[in-house]
């Protein structure tokens, strides 16, 4: 693996080929906020809160740092007026779903996001996909997944699978930044029927 030198927020950073900008920044203690990122999971690029400005070959563009590979002589700005504006809006859009999510509240303070800017939504889920991907990628189970698409997209436990594996696992619960996961599980559990007296569910 060859060494790649780049600059993040004015700091010279040494990275190895194949690393993402986010990883390179983290390696030198520069914080870039993330919501859908998890070190055990494949980069997903959905929340876009990790958007940064990169300059390469005279071109400036906005990219998701969790996915963008490091390049030689890349100049990265993790904060700029534009980046901050994007993060503020993303937080405001998500706070309409989960106004009390701890991580969102913390970031809202940093970026001056107004949690009441948009009308509140019925579901807490912010579609970070951590539960879905953890279940699939780490546990290999697919007990929880996304259903439908667009604005109707939601997370859903698959009762047939959940009944067999979820009760003894629940490893996804602490990953959820909101209360949506628990709500979805309660719903799935209700669909599974009464809990048998002994042993596992058929």
């Amino acid at each position: 693996m060859s060494e790649i030198n780049l600059q993040i927020d004015g700091k010279d950073v040494e990275a190895t080929e194949g690393m993402t900008v986010l990883e390179a920044a983290q390696s030198v203690g520069i914080e870039i906020p993330t919501l859908c990122h998890h070190e055990k999971l494949e980069p997903y690029g959905a929340c876009r809160i990790c958007t940064v400005e990169v300059e390469s070959g005279g071109w400036t563009k906005l990219v998701a740092s969790c996915l963008y590979p490091v390049e030689k002589d890349l100049i990265v700005r993790t904060r700029s007026e534009k980046v901050d504006r994007i993060r503020k809006m993303i937080l405001e859009l998500l706070l309409a779903h989960a106004p009390d999510a701890w991580e969102l509240e913390r970031l809202a303070k940093v970026y001056g996001a107004d949690k009441d800017r948009f009308e509140k939504e019925a579901s807490f889920c912010i579609h970070c996909g951590l539960c879905v991907r953890y279940c699939a990628e780490v546990k290999g189970e697919h007990a929880v997944g996304f259903v439908d698409r667009g604005t109707r997209r939601e997370i859903c436990f698959i009762p047939e699978v959940a009944a067999k594996v979820c009760r003894d696992c629940k490893e996804c619960f602490p990953l959820c930044p909101t209360s949506a996961l628990q709500a979805a599980f309660v719903l799935a559990e209700a669909m599974m029927g009464p809990r048998p007296e002994t042993g596992s569910v058929k």
């Binding site: 959905a46 590979p69 994007i86 993303i90 859009l93 948009f118 996304f146 667009g150 109707r152 997209r153």
Partner: protein, 642 residues
């Protein structure tokens, strides 16, 4: 049929086919494209077959079910060869007359030919009809000449000669160079130069490479790709095979939407025939080149037209876009170099190879060469598919080819580029249509949808409509698109319902900017375009909705009221009888009044009121006049003269 093992065998076979065809023998070509079939072409075809058989003419007259020639407005379309007489809106009842008069009597059935609505001039031959006359039909021209299910028909018009030429006379680099020289740009939306895309894949070190046809045409009102796949599937296969040879791929995919059953059927038949003849499979035409094609039917998601989402779907996963920081021509399907082009792009390839890049570049503008097929729909007289040289003005497309706006209405805007495109107003009518000009004006080429709107169209409602489409069709993965569009749609809906507030426009602009800057894929990044382009050219309409609660186009239901002008009402009872909510008070000789409490604003009275009276009108942004006092409602009619 035995395989053809060399270009020479192909040419011998082609001569054999042509020798069996007498160009002067009568042939009835009937469009069997989806549009004409929906207008009853199936019955017309059956009627022709029955009539010809009952008169014992089978040996002399051939009937042919062809692809779509484009004039869908006047379908079913029938063309009689060799005279090329074009009959429009043919019904089964006309068939007997056509057979007696035209096929036997060599006379024209005047009532079925095209009549120019403005000049009353008749046009008997297809090429004299203004709709066709101003087009440059390099690709679409073949559709009416061949039965798409017959590979022999395709061979009879020179089919697979480009493939034979490539395999026997050109190196893969020659092919890439020719396509680059032609400056063929992708017809699917982005307009990326196809030759450069191919070159990138050709140079990629991976051995396994793929070529893909994007036939997931999903823009509302667009059906160019459907017509090509249904009407001339072999031309797509030939283009794809040439592309595969150029980049060194041995496997190709056609991703076609399931909602196009006829296209799926015809392309599957074409693949089967091409395999039998040896244009696909092992050792094609004895060249040592192998190539196979598989058809994948899409499950009906608009976002799968986006190249990375399409590839994800091909891999068997949910069709969600993935970030493209490495181009898919280097790392695409199953992480292998993959060239994905749209149907129309592939259809251009055999033409470029056969006639050369210099022929191709004689059409078009500096930056956009060749022709482009548009589907012309909306408030336009001649709905259909039109193929025009790049650089033609919008005015020529809309007025010379499209025949203008129906009902004497005024043109208001043309929407190009599908949901991610934009609306251009009248002052842009003289703009030359090409990739760059459309982008400069704030719209885009897209895949070629062209929706014409007249004065009755509310531009805020148009933006709302497209945003609704996009919130539905977004995959829902990234926040700026899923959540941003959700909010944009909510605000736009409020504005059209008269609930807009100050600051709405600015908030919409802010949401648009975040989507453009931060969304994951092209769908999300371009999703605000319907709003941005309508705001750019029709800001006054937004302001009227928000500030005055007025819809200038008198279209938004919540902002209009219906009113009967007492001066004009002739108390004829027509509207009162038709009103579904019994909201019209009045009787014979008593001027009618609408009870606004009961009125559901369905518009039936507006449609029903005879145009010579024109008493029902729409009001927006101003109070409804008080009904006239009951004692003044009686109409005293003059006694009729005896």
């Amino acid at each position: 049929m035995a395989r053809l093992n060399s270009p020479e065998e192909l040419e011998r076979f082609r001569k054999e086919i042509l020798s069996q065809k007498d160009p002067n023998s009568p042939c009835v070509s009937i469009c069997a494209g989806a549009g004409c079939m929906a207008s009853g072409a199936g019955e017309v075809i059956a009627a022709f077959k029955a009539e010809i058989e009952s008169r014992g003419l089978q040996a002399d007259v051939t009937t042919k079910e062809t692809g779509c020639p484009g004039f869908c407005e006047r379908g079913p379309v029938v063309v009689i060869y060799p005279e090329e007489i074009c009959y429009l809106q043919v019904t089964p009842e006309d068939v007997s007359e056509i057979v007696s008069e035209t096929l036997k009597g060599k006379k024209v059935v005047e009532r079925l030919v095209y009549v120019d609505p403005t000049t009353d001039e008749k046009a008997t031959v297809e090429s004299d009809i203004p709709f066709y006359k101003h087009q440059q039909r390099n690709i679409l021209d073949s559709n009416i000449k061949i039965d798409p299910r017959s590979i022999d028909d395709y061979l009879s018009i020179g089919g697979y000669s480009a493939l034979a030429k490539v395999l026997s006379q050109m190196t893969p680099d020659d092919v890439v160079a020719e396509v680059k020289k032609a400056n063929l740009r992708g017809r699917g939306g982005g307009g990326f130069p196809a030759g450069r895309k191919w070159e990138g894949s050709r140079n990629a070190p991976e051995k396994t490479k793929y070529v893909i046809v994007n036939a997931d045409e999903g823009d509302p009102g667009a059906f160019m790709d459907r017509a090509l796949l249904e009407g001339n599937p072999h031309s797509i296969l030939e283009g794809l095979t040439i592309g595969a040879y150029a980049i060194g791929s041995s496997e190709g995919y056609i991703y076609v939407r399931q909602e196009y059953p006829l296209a799926v059927k015809n392309v599957l038949l074409a693949i089967q025939a091409a395999e039998e003849y040896g244009f696909l499979g092992e050792n094609i035409l004895g060249s040592g080149f192998h190539f196979t094609v598989k058809v994948h039917q899409g499950a009906g998601a608009f976002v799968c037209g986006e190249s990375t989402a399409l590839m994800t779907a091909l891999e068997g996963r949910a069709g969600e876009p993935r970030p493209k920081y490495i181009r898919s021509n280097v790392k695409g399907l199953w992480d292998k170099p993959s060239v994905l082009n749209n149907v129309e792009t592939w259809a251009n390839v055999p033409l470029i190879i056969n006639r050369g890049a210099d022929w191709f570049t004689q059409y078009g503008t500096e930056g956009s060469k060749g022709t482009k097929i548009f589907s012309l729909v909306g408030k336009i007289n001649n709905t259909g598919l039109v193929e025009v040289p790049m650089g033609i003005t919008l005015r020529d497309i809309i007025y010379k080819i499209g025949g203008g706006i129906p009902g004497g209405k005024r043109f208001k805007a043309v929407q190009t580029g599908g949901p991610s495109g934009g609306c251009l107003p009248e002052e842009h009518l003289d703009m030359g249509v090409d990739f760059d000009e459309l982008s400069k004006a704030g719209s885009m080429m897209g895949s070629g949808g062209m929706i014409i709107m007249d004065e009755d169209t509310c531009m805020v409602d148009v933006a709302r409509y497209f945003l609704e489409f996009l919130t539905d069709e977004s995959c829902g993965k990234c926040v700026p698109c899923r959540e941003g569009m959700r909010q944009m749609l909510r605000i736009l809906t409020n504005i059209t319902e008269g609930k807009g507030t100050e600051g709405d426009i600015e908030l919409l602009e802010e949401l648009s900017e975040v989507a453009k800057d931060a969304a994951l894929c092209a769908l999300g990044k371009s999703a605000p375009n319907p709003f941005l382009s309508t705001l750019k050219y029709f800001r006054d309409e937004y302001e009227a909705h928000i500030n005055e609660r007025r819809c200038p186009a008198l279209s938004c239901k919540e902002l209009i009221t219906f009113h009967i002008d007492p001066e004009k009402c002739q108390a004829c009872m027509i509207c009162a009888r038709k009103c579904p909510s019994e909201a019209i008070i009045g009787g014979k000789n008593t001027i009618h009044v609408i009870d606004q409490e009961k009125c559901t604003k369905c518009g039936t009275c507006f449609e029903a009121c005879p145009s010579k009276f024109g008493a029902v009108r729409k009001i927006s942004g101003e109070p409804v006049p008080d009904p006239i006092p009951e004692e003044q409602r009686t109409i005293k009619r003059k006694p009729k003269k005896k």
